[in-house]
């Protein structure tokens, strides 16, 4: 399966919730089936300065659609991201003397929304909130019948254009920045990286939709 995660542009004069409602109505009208809700959470862990002279930061991302796994993405070198068992969380709590969840930042980043199914496709539309403040709408489009990204780029563009307000003519920034994943087997970690890119831009205070 391959997934693209893109922010959904909210139209002028509407709230994000209204935009999400409109989108789900559109999807249901197009013949999608409503499936279970989903949630993607991101938590930041920071090393304590008395334990480590150089501060290290990494993020733990949990995806409700992959219930047995958790993903660890370091702040600096993202090539050493880890896919681990859920029991890794228990291990991290044992390391609480070295790493701590960042307390100063106001709460977690999370995307909560609904899954819609249509044959081989699966669309997840959700609200991105940062410490309770709604930041925007995120759409994840998944093609379940393909594992090589490069073979499905045009199909994904076409598919996403069916529900996005503007035609999709570019690939997500993470995929365009990593040309070597195009021909390889697509792993769920790439999806998580796409989420992480969006989370990072929200943390940095940039606006979600560049267009």
């Amino acid at each position: 399966m391959i997934s693209w995660v893109v922010p959904y542009p909210t139209p002028e004069g509407k709230t994000h919730n209204q935009a999400l409602d409109d989108l789900s109505k559109l999807l249901l009208a197009q013949g999608y089936e409503k499936d279970v809700p989903y949630c993607v959470e991101c938590e930041m862990y920071v090393s304590l300065p008395e334990m480590m002279p150089v501060q290290k930061v990494f993020h733990v991302i949990l995806d409700s659609d992959r219930p047995a796994s958790c993903f660890l993405i370091p702040d600096k070198d993202q090539s050493i991201s880890i896919t681990a068992e859920k029991s890794m969380m228990g291990f991290l709590s044992k390391l609480s003397k070295i790493f701590k969840t960042s307390p100063g930042k106001t709460g977690n980043l999370e995307v909560r929304g609904q899954t819609f199914l249509y044959r081989d496709f699966c669309v997840r539309a959700g609200i991105l909130s940062y410490g309770g403040v709604i930041k925007g709408v995120i759409v994840e489009a998944e093609l379940r019948s393909c594992s090589i990204l490069i073979t499905a780029v045009e199909l994904m563009k076409e598919f996403m254009s069916t529900f996005m307000p503007t035609p999709m003519d570019t690939v997500p920034s993470y995929i365009s920045s990593k040309p070597n994943i195009l021909g390889a087997m697509y792993s769920p970690l790439e999806t998580i990286h796409q989420y992480y890119d969006i989370f990072a831009s929200v943390r940095a205070g940039r606006s979600l939709v560049s267009r």
Partner: protein, 700 residues
Amino acid sequence: MVGDREEPSSSPAGLGSPAVRNSGRRDSANIRVTVECPLQPQISEITFDGQEIHQPPISRGERLYRNACKINFLEEDVEDGEEDELVSFGVAGGRPKETRVQRPDPGQIVWSLDSVRNKLRSAHMEVAILTDILALSKERKYMRVESAVSDPVESKPHFNMHIKKKAAQSVSVLFAEAANRLKRSAADTQKGDNDYHHALINLRDQWRLKKTGANVTGDLGYRTVGSALKAAGQFEIRKNEDNSEKPLNVVIVGDLSGECAVQIDIAFDHVRSPQKDYIDELRTHDMWSKVITADTPWHRQLTAAQNCLYLRELTMMLSAEAVNLPSSLSPIVFGDEVHYTSLFGHTVRVKLQHVPESEMSRTKSTARYPHNFNESTWSESRIVEMVMQMIMLTRMRDLSNPDIPIPACGPLGLKNFRRKMSIQARDRRVWKIPVTPERSLSTELLELSHNLLLRKRILKFLDELVGPDLTIIIHDTSTLTSWKYCLIKLSFHTPGFDFYDRTNCAFEIHSGEARFCTRNSVHQLSVGDDMECHLLYVEMVRHHSTVMQFLLKSHRFEIIQYNASYGFYELKEAPVSISVANALSYAITIVAKSSDERWLVKVVCSLCYVYRVYVASLTAPPNPTNAVRNKDFVPPNPIFREVDLNSIVGGDTRAKKSSMVISALASLPQHSKLLRKQGAEQETKLRRPAPAWTRWETVV
């Protein structure tokens, strides 16, 4: 005395400059004055710009070394040279002659020099020894031990042999001792098998044990490979104090003792007489007994218990799957029993048979129970057993670690969801569907039973076709290739004829369906009421008419024409049940002996009467046409008479058949004289007694 010494003293003192010597001579001859020029810096080099580079004055240590070089240590008596030495030593160097008066006490100097000398001497000795050792170690001139011990001996082969022999002997003694020790230790371990601890160690090689408190417990179950029976399969090991032969007692929790088997019955709901042959039972027993190599009572007990657990698991899986099966199979679950209605109208019953140990002795005589069934088991039972093992193994492999442990050794490895879902980060939905319905256990089991049933039925059908003048040779490759795929090839042969008709037909049984294949076509077989393999009759007609042609040729008939009608078109229109009985696959051979006579021999095949032969004859029209001359003449609408081949019971079928056909031909109304004569000859030939020379008396 002083004067005597003047000459020799002059040399060391005057080494410095001639001017000093001159000044010494100018003074009185008695008093020696040593004058040294003030210490001037020695110039080592003068550069081009006139700058002088001075050599630094020598240090005290250097000076001491220089002077020490001049001392003759061997000369113990230094009284004469004392003064000279003093001078040369430079104790009073650089002073005018007058200062000689205040020179230090000679004894004190000697004393100080003595220590220096001793040190130097010891140093010299050390250096000398060192050089000696270096020379020795480097050149090895004097330190060669072997050459020093003895002169080089000339080689003595006998002596060497003896030495080697001795060495080998000592080594052999060592080895023998070691072997003896090993033997003793092996014997000890064998003796110790009856020991509790040894038995426990042996048990631990094959089963998973752990210590809980004072007890040793183990686990037989398949929990970690996705078993639904979570609590079952625990066992406890107790020490048996009473019996020294059996040090262990295994106590298995739950009702797992005794023998267990899965019984698969195939039965027809509407039982009719010819199909009774297909009702059969397939039984499996003791799935994993071959995995465990050790043969001790507790091993047997554990293996049986695990087998029981495994079969329970199997039945549970089957009944769980029965919910999702298509309704055409109409699965019904009764406790340990699952019923399916198959496509052909027969019922497949999969049943768990469990005989507890307490009942085993009581019911030994009855054949209803699996433990007595083992010897007389149907040969297919073994296939079912193996197949079920294979299916379960693949299922477990899907659910568990790829490198699956030996099932008998119980649960090991990662839990399946952890392995599959977490590291690979699989989707929630992949997790939810562990078994795809196409590969469900029950469908595979039903497919297997279909295959076995079809195979048995085809073999029975072929058996019916075989008669005294037709042998069907079957090449069944299913046991060699796989249980999923069965291919039965056919060859025809008629006794008494030289040729062996290797047909192109084959029955193929694959995934619960049977097909009849020839070179050109594949026909789906419906195994409902009758075997509808019309093409097989075609092959048989071909074979029989070939046989007939051989027969007629041997009687000097000329084969004019061969027409075959395989009746495909009639078959298509007629309903299936009628078509087989009335399938008229026939071949007409037209033979002639003269140009105006035609005989027709027709061979017809069908399931009701395996094959029949009809004959007819016609004369050519009175005025011969071109067709007659060219032998193209075909008689219109002949009237056939049947040759009663059923009267051939045994004996030389070939001769009898030929005589019957010929006599039938001869009895036809429009026969020629020649033919009648030949027919009569044929009969007399048959009646003729054996020649006399074949009797034993004449031979001997």
